[in-house]
Amino acid sequence: MSNIGTLDDPSEPQELYAARKKIFPKRATGDFRRLKWIIMIVTLAIYYVTPWLRWDRGPYAPDQAVLVDVANRRFYFFFIEIWPQEFYFVAGMLVMAGIGLFLVTSVVGRAWCGYTCPQTVWTDLFLVVERFMEGDRNARMKLDAAPYTFDKLRKRVIKHVIWLLIAVATGGAWIFYFADAPTLLVELFTGEAAFVAYATVAVLTATTYTFGGHMREQVCNYMCPWPRIQAAMLDEDSLVVTYNDWRGEPRTHGRKKAAAAGDPMGDCVDCNACVVVCPAGIDIREGQQMECITCALCIDACDDIMGKLGREKGLISYSTLSDYNTNMALATDPETSTINPDRIRDENGFIEGIRHFDWRIFLRPRTLLYFSVWAMIGIGLLTALVMRDRLGVNVQHDRNPIFVQMSDGGIRNGYTVKILNMVQEPRVIFLSLEGLPGATMSINGLDQPDGVSFAVPVEPDQLRALRVFVRQPAAYIEGGSTQFHLIAEDKQSNEMDIYEAVFEAPEVK
């Protein structure tokens, strides 16, 4: 953003606001471009297809593999079902995602930005459409500069219509995560879906179309906090997309002329291939920049040229700052403080001291620490998932009053008991009282005589709240607080949950 129009003449009144410079990225080919195509297809497929996957959970639960059921407060993920109080699983996974991001960033820099960020993926997709309708870089630039003719109008209109269709599909796919997808799809088209569904589709359509079609790198540069945060997590051993000016400079266009003059010749032929493919519109040869999302397309572009020229690939490469600095020191002439590529070459290629990519940079204390923290949280979450209860009992003692004097001198305490049946089939749960001498229970709405154990039918995947009265005859009353147990038990699966409850009575004088 540094080179606005007034630099040449500081006496001109300067602009405080700059218009977006149009970027026409050229199609790149190569290993990284292929990797990006694959990641794009996989991530888009995950996004669009996931809500349509089915997962049989029996007759009492939805059969959608991934479903955020907000109305019923349930989250389904294949074989896992989460109740709201188990949200710590989601929180734990968010922590893992955060630390995973630290890990990835400390190893390969802004890989998230360059390959998997939705902004990058959808912008890429929109660029595919743009290229299909208007051609590659030069054709697009020409078309953009041309006056509006019928042909230009046709191309533009079709392009925007396709963009909008993609945007609608993007917004549409999102809402399918929150309701039964096949049902909602029909409702969407028959006008029966909830207002919030249409509103969500509309908002996401607008943001997808605007961000992917019109704003693109502006989102990364001005709206997104990640470029700043992720850049702060890099260190001298992180792999970042680097222009190796220790072998590229001085750029040499006319090599024969330079050779004749005996000037030092860098590998860079100043062909501009790295600049024209850049979706962020920067020149990587100017060094590390905030705008660089490390999509590595400049590597592909440069490798292509180097291959054609018969030179070693990797003039632009993933490289660490410490390798770069070492190589730079070797290439710099101490007397003139200029780069002389002859210093790092001999007849066999690069001299011995030149450092290249080394797998050992992955195994640093920093990355190992990130990885172990990440793995420990993962193991903890898995353990919690395997060990978690699918039957629960929660007891709330009445506070007002804490006990009731009965006419026969006995004391009664009231409780709200909640039995959680967290499996998808109806169960009969036995609620029993243990450890309170002489005491009996009665339960409102269960037509059963007083006793110490009750069979309570509980609906599948539901919580049942009961009003429970516990009554202890006068002869057994010890006064003050007495601890006892309320036990919920499924006698078929032998699952059990014990609640340590308190029975309150007046102090005995």
Binding site: M1, S2, N3, I4, T6, L7, P10, S11, P13, Q14, E15, L16, Y17, A18, A19, R20, M215, Q218, N221, Y222, D398, R399, N400, P401, V404, Q405, M406, S407, D408, G409, R412, G414, N444, G445, R467, F469, A474
Partner: protein, 290 residues
């Protein structure tokens, strides 16, 4: 804007010409769309204040072109809730209390509705937890002066107790045996010891024996031969552990001499029948219902 701009040596960025003790401000221009977005929010804000109530005047704020008001919103919400409840409310109005209690959904609805009506209308005397106190009966226990089945509770709610404004009110009047000099002071003391005895409390056996005669002659007619009380007469049970006005000897003597007799208003004219029914069911569910 100052006129003297220069290029910063390190960043290559132009300065704005602002200089504070040698610290110069760089001009990294904002994107133009950001500026337009800012203007758009201003335009939106103006439109918003026209569409919605906003501008303060002397006797109130501008109404807004859309006619929106938070009060109308609340009214609509309440109407929607009432409409959704009307199915239940109608059933409760038309069904017998016992039938309502047998229906799980209706019972739940009635208890919830009764609980909220209780907090508004009853908790002032009977307490938020319905535990009563200080001469106001505890509604949680199993001792009922006028009967604790759901029909009796409903009747009590409808007509009240010793409530002058209702002809059908429940009425009982215990004579002031002391204040009206019906009984000697010593007889009252003895009778109180006897009541202590039949309710299983510490007593003076000799005095209780004398008091038994006094009780049989004066009290048994209403409170029963064994002090079991009578729901129809509104005579409290005297042989249990529950005392509305206290169970110590002195308190019993005081109650015989100059009885306190509480008043409860009838709610027939003030609460809808459906609400009263829900209240009856709620009170009946509190644990002591018969």
């Amino acid at each position: 804007m100052a006129e003297k701009n220069e290029i910063d040596e390190f960043s290559g960025v132009e300065t704005t010409g602002h200089d504070w003790d040698g610290i110069k401000e760089l001009n990294n221009p904002l994107p133009r769309w950001w500026l337009w977005t800012f203007y758009a929010t201003i335009v939106f804000a103006i439109g918003y204040t026209i569409a919605y109530p906003a501008w303060p005047g002397i006797s109130g704020a501008s109404k807004g072109l859309l006619g929106w008001s938070s009060r109308a919103n609340v009214s609509a919400d309440i109407a929607a809730v009432e409409a959704s409840r009307s199915v239940f409310a109608e059933k409760i109005l038309n069904m017998e209390l016992a039938e309502i209690e047998a229906d799980t959904d209706l019972l739940q609805f009635a208890i919830a509705g009764g609980s909220s009506a209780f907090k508004v209308n009853c908790s002032q005397c009977h307490g938020a937890g319905a535990a009563g106190g200080g001469g106001y009966p505890n509604l949680l226990d199993d001792d009922w002066i006028w009967g604790g089945d759901v029909e009796q509770i409903y009747l009590t709610l409808q007509h009240g107790i010793r409530y002058d404004a209702d002809e059908d009110t429940r009425f009982s009047d215990m004579p002031a045996f002391g204040a009206d000099e019906i009984l000697e002071r010593s007889d009252i003391v003895d009778a109180a010891w006897y009541v202590r005895q039949i309710s299983g409390q510490e007593s003076d056996a000799e005095a209780a024996l004398r008091g038994q005669t006094v009780y049989e002659d004066n009290c048994a007619a209403c409170h029963g031969d064994n002090g079991e009380g009578d729901h129809d007469l509104g005579a409290p049970n005297l042989n249990d552990a529950i005392w509305l006005y206290g169970g110590s000897h002195a308190e019993i003597v005081a109650q015989i001499s100059r009885p306190q007799q509480g008043v409860m208003p009838g709610w027939a004219g003030r609460l809808s029948e459906a609400t009263t029914k829900q209240l009856a069911i709620y009170v009946h569910s509190l644990g002591g219902g018969e």
